[in-house]
C-alpha cells in the first residue's frame, strides 16, 4: 500500500480510568477513523486499554536532541525541587 496515502499516526492508550493516555507506538492509516480501528487491532489485542487517542505524527512538535543540554541538564543539579526534604509522619504511610 502506498505510504503517501497512509500517513503515520501516534497511538495513545488509557489502560484504566484515572490514568493518563500513554504513548504506545505508531501506525500507518488512511485517515483518523481507520487509524483508530488499526490502533484497536494492533495495540489493544490483549486488553491493554479502555480508551484510545490517535494523533497525526506530523502534528507533534518534538524537542531536538541537539537541545538536550540546555533543555534538560540544568535540572540535574536542582535536587531541592524534589519533595524529599520533609519529615513525613509514619501514620501518613506511603505517599
Amino acid at each position: 500500500m502506498n505510504l503517501k496515502n497512509t500517513p503515520l499516526w501516534e497511538v495513545f492508550i488509557r489502560s484504566k480510568n484515572g490514568l493518563s493516555h500513554v504513548h504506545a507506538g505508531s501506525l500507518h492509516a488512511v485517515d483518523a477513523d481507520m487509524a483508530l480501528q488499526n490502533a484497536r487491532d494492533v495495540y489493544t489485542r490483549r486488553a491493554e486499554g479502555i480508551s484510545l487517542w490517535v494523533v497525526p505524527s506530523n502534528a507533534i512538535k518534538a524537542s531536538d536532541p541537539v537541545d538536550r543540554g540546555e533543555f534538560f541538564e540544568p535540572t540535574a543539579s536542582k535536587v531541592y525541587r524534589h519533595p524529599t526534604f520533609y519529615d513525613i509522619p509514619d501514620e501518613v504511610g506511603h505517599m
Binding site: T6, L27, H28, Q37, N38, R40, D41, V42, R45
Partner: protein, 252 residues
Amino acid sequence: MAADSALFSYSLRLADNANVLGHRMCEWSGKAPMLEEDMALSNLGLDLIGQARSLYSYAGEVEGAGRSEDDLAFMRDANSYSNVLLVEMPNGDFAVTMLRHFFFAAYYAPFFEELCKSKDETLAAVAAKAVREMAYHLRHSAEWVIRLGDGSDESAKRMQDAVNILWPYTGELFESDAIDQQLLAEGIAVDPESLREKWQATVADVFKRALLTAPEDAWMQSGGRTGEHTEHLGFMLAEMQFLQRSYPGAQW
C-alpha cells in the same frame, strides 16, 4: 425431525459459517497489504474461529455421539459442511475479502442481536459474546468498502468488480428450511427473512457512500446449507484439515 437433530444441524451451520470464513481471513496472515491490516484481518478471523469453537462444542454435545469440536471441524468432508457459499469464496483481492466480510457482518450483526433472545441458553450466550464482535466486523469492513469504493479509479473498479462477483451469493443468507422453521416455532432460531430489510438498508447506505451500484437481483446461488458447495471449499478444507487427517489427535 427430532428436536435434538434440528438443534444439532442449526448449531453446526452457524459453526461452519464461522469456521470457514475465519479460516479464509487467517489465510491473509503475513500477506495483507500492510502490517496494520494484517493484524486486523487475523483478529477478525480469530473472533470467528472462537465462535466456531463454542458452536462446534455445543453441536457435539447436542448430538451426543461423542464428537468433539475438532472432530466436527477436521473430520468432515466438503459435502458434510453446511456453510453458505459466500464464506467459502476465495479471498481474491483485498476488495473481495472486505466486501465478502461486509456482506456477512451486515447479516450476522443483527442476527446475533436476535439470537441473544433465543430460548436456548447456550446459543443465547454465544450470541451475547458474538454480537459485539460482529458489530466491530461490520464497522471495519464497511469503512474499507467506503474508502475503496470512493477511492482511486483502480480501487473503485476493483470494489465494483467485487460487488458483481459476490452479489449472487448474498441470497442464500436469507434462506430457511424445515430446520429453521421448527426451531423458530420453538423460540430458538432467528428468522432469516426478518433480517432482510435491515441487511438491505445497511448495504444501501454503505453503497451510497461508497459510490457503488448493487446489481439487479437475479439468479441467486444456493446449496451450501445442504452440502452442495463450490469447488473452492474442497481445496480450503484439504489445507485446513491436513494435519488432523494425517496425524489424528495431534496436539500442541
